[in-house]
């Protein structure tokens, strides 16, 4: 896969169809891969990588990259392509400056899950069939890939690309996903239990804004949280209220536009399961207004910019079952 991608990228650079390539660059270790822009075949030969640790979603970079001179080639995994399509729908990317190669993805590993297994001092990670062989300062270990795949990959919703110019590998399908199970589990709790759960999670927030800045749906030039007159301390975990406020409003602002790419949870330095907030909105939208997948259909109106005359009333929240 990686070699095919490198070859194709060099080909497109060589024949002048593209001027730059957005991809992933090898890091210090096997797992700390950085998104990067490549301009020459030498750079691609030296640094380009595509493996189980290329979790970063490149679509948001195209907001700025597609406004630069020339054309850029981008490799998009299926879930990334939904983010791209959604950004396209919001007119945030100049489509003609981007050439998309869809790449297949069978899940990406999460280094934190490896560390949670007690494997630390990780020096190198090699693939061996359906397992990873991990070389560390403290010895060697083998773990099944599935055990250390990111949560978002274990509940993958689609192997199909929402948008691409060409594909490397097979075209996949939308797959059944159990991604709402945890949301349903929370819904079944009592309000007190839910409150405790979320307090425990959100109180860890350090307001670094990584979730916001990485989110492909958060593409406002000026964020409401950066407005000094909004009265919101955008970088201070000043009070539990602020933590709730930030996460409610952030999730609300991307409601109906969030493609559930899971970047927010991936980047959170405090391991807060932020995707559970976004998925709640997605689940509610599906239940209230019919199934909707952001980024899927470029012509469909987003649920919050749309309505029907016989939408449910907000009182549905009180009437609905669930624990009191």
């Amino acid at each position: 896969m990686q070699e095919a991608m490198k070859a194709r990228a060099k080909e497109l650079l060589a024949d002048g169809s593209v001027n730059r390539v957005a991809g992933w660059k090898i890091g210090e270790f096997s797992y700390d891969i950085t998104p990067a822009i490549f301009e020459t075949a030498e750079e691609i030969d030296r640094d380009f990588v595509y493996d189980d640790f290329c979790g970063a979603n490149l679509s948001k970079y195209l907001i700025s990259q597609s406004r630069k001179e020339g054309k850029i080639l981008v490799f998009l995994k299926p879930c990334d392509s939904y983010s791209f399509a959604q950004l396209l729908k919001e007119h945030r990317i100049i489509r003609e400056n981007v050439y998309i190669i869809g790449i297949e993805c069978y899940g990406k590993a999460d280094i934190n899950k490896i560390r949670e297994k007690g494997i630390d001092g990780v020096l190198g990670i090699k693939e061996s069939g359906s397992s990873f062989v991990i070389d560390s300062i403290y010895g060697e270990a083998t773990v099944p890939k599935m055990d250390v795949y990111a949560e978002r990959c274990l509940v993958c919703k689609s192997k199909k690309h929402a948008v691409y110019d060409e594909l490397i590998g097979e075209e996949g399908d939308v797959v059944p996903s159990s991604r709402f199970d945890k949301v349903a589990e929370l819904e079944a709790m009592t309000p007190d239990e839910r409150f405790e759960f979320w307090r425990g999670e959100l109180s860890r927030c350090i307001r670094c804004n990584a979730c916001r800045n990485v989110c492909p749906a958060c593409s406002c030039e000026n964020c409401v949280f950066d407005n000094p007159n909004s009265g919101i301390a955008n970088k201070a975990a000043a009070d539990s209220f602020e933590e709730n406020m930030f996460h409610i409003i952030r999730a609300f602002h991307v409601a109906g536009r969030c493609t559930d790419c899971g970047e927010c949870s991936r980047v959170c330095p405090q391991n807060i399961p932020l995707h559970l907030l976004n998925r709640k909105f997605i689940k509610d939208i599906n239940e209230f207004y019919g199934e909707y997948q952001a980024g899927e259909n470029p012509d469909e109106k987003a649920p919050l910019t749309n309505f029907t005359f016989d939408d449910c009333e907000p009182s549905i929240v009180y009437k609905r079952g669930g624990n009191q």
Binding site: G231, A236, A238, N271
Partner: protein
């Protein structure tokens, strides 16, 4: 040198907590973090905490002063109070070194910051020698000895025993208070342990990071280097690195209108944020390139220039672990340091 059985650690914490609040690293959903000691809380065995220990002296949010406004009148309410004594157990060598860097800013450069000084004076630091350094650790680059940190008291955990060495008067007092749990002992096992830890540190992958070409002498050369252009583009401009960093010390002063008056507080700020230098007249760091450069230049060039060559990085490796896009000070230093690191 004193010794205690590791099994008695809880008794030690309880004894110390009787007099003052004790904080120690505890495992939680976000990795280890400092928590208040209470019955049932156990010490984390993790190499280090996810967040740094700087919160104890330089908290993320701190009230500076309150105001009451009545028509044209203003009342200034100085709400500063002596903080109560507290103990931090389990500070690693890198975090201890970070306190010295914060001291340079808040204590040693006039004017003294009274908020910081207050906390610093009332804190007792018990350091813990590293037992299990990680691949992301590079404290050795900055001359930090993971095997023998200072602090008020130094601890070594060797198998079933914990060794204590008081380094300061504060430390002596604390050890004396827990005297019945400790027995006098010879230093030999600790010396052996130190040798073992140092040998382990010598095997770490980034211990040889070269910084010779990054310094005050190369200020403009480093600043104008072409590597920034290649590195910054992946940066998403969040504050993760700054907020987990034990030495990042920039802050913002903001106000909050309560129903009663106005609270003026300071909170951590990040040079990575687009509004860091934004003012009515414009912004002198308009793109992420400048902001990204500022963070690393400050740590590796500007700070040492003002502080006898001491880098504002302690090699704790937190930014290596936390950065959303895995761009970090090691990658920057390698790129900026050029061939020396090839």
């Amino acid at each position: 040198m004193k010794k205690m059985q590791a099994a008695n650690l809880n008794d030690f914490f309880r004894a110390a907590a009787a007099a003052e609040t004790v904080y120690l690293p505890v495992d939680s959903a976000d990795g280890a973090r400092f928590m208040k000691y209470e019955d049932g809380v156990t010490l984390s065995m993790a190499c280090n905490t996810t967040r740094s220990a700087k919160d104890f002296f330089f908290p993320q949010v701190e009230n500076l002063v309150d105001f009451k406004v009545d028509g044209k009148k203003i009342e200034v309410i100085d709400g500063r109070e002596e903080v109560e004594d507290f103990v931090i157990f389990g500070v690693r060598a890198c975090d201890l070194a970070s306190f010295e860097i914060l001291d340079r800013v808040y204590l040693n450069t006039p004017p003294v910051d009274s908020y910081y000084k207050n906390r610093r004076e009332h804190g007792t630091v018990i350091t813990l020698a590293c037992g299990r350094p990680q691949e992301t650790c590079f404290c050795k680059v900055f001359g930090i000895d993971a095997a023998d940190p200072a602090g008020d008291v130094t601890c070594w955990m060797l198998g079933d025993d914990i060794y204590f060495r008081a380094n300061t008067e504060k430390g002596e007092k604390l050890i004396a208070a827990c005297g019945s749990l400790l027995t006098d002992v010879d230093e030999a096992p600790v010396e052996n342990a130190k040798t073992a830890i140092r040998a382990m540190v010598d095997k770490l992958p980034i211990k040889d990071l070269k910084l010779d070409k990054i310094s005050e002498r190369h200020l403009l050369e480093n600043f104008n280097s072409s590597v920034w252009k290649d590195l910054y583009e992946s940066c998403i401009g969040c504050g993760t690195c700054t907020f987990v960093c034990p030495t990042c010390q920039c802050f913002d002063v903001r106000e909050f209108k309560t129903n009663e008056g106005v609270k003026r507080f300071r909170c951590w700020d990040s040079c990575m944020y687009s509004d860091f230098t934004k003012m009515a007249a414009g912004n002198n760091r308009l793109s992420q390139l400048e902001r990204f450069r500022q963070r690393f230049m400050h740590k590796l060039v500007y700070f040492p220039a003002n502080n006898d060559g001491v880098y504002s990085c302690v090699g704790c490796g937190r930014c290596l672990k936390s950065c959303p896009i895995s761009m970090n000070i090691v990658k920057v230093a390698k790129a900026l340091g050029g061939e020396a690191n090839e």
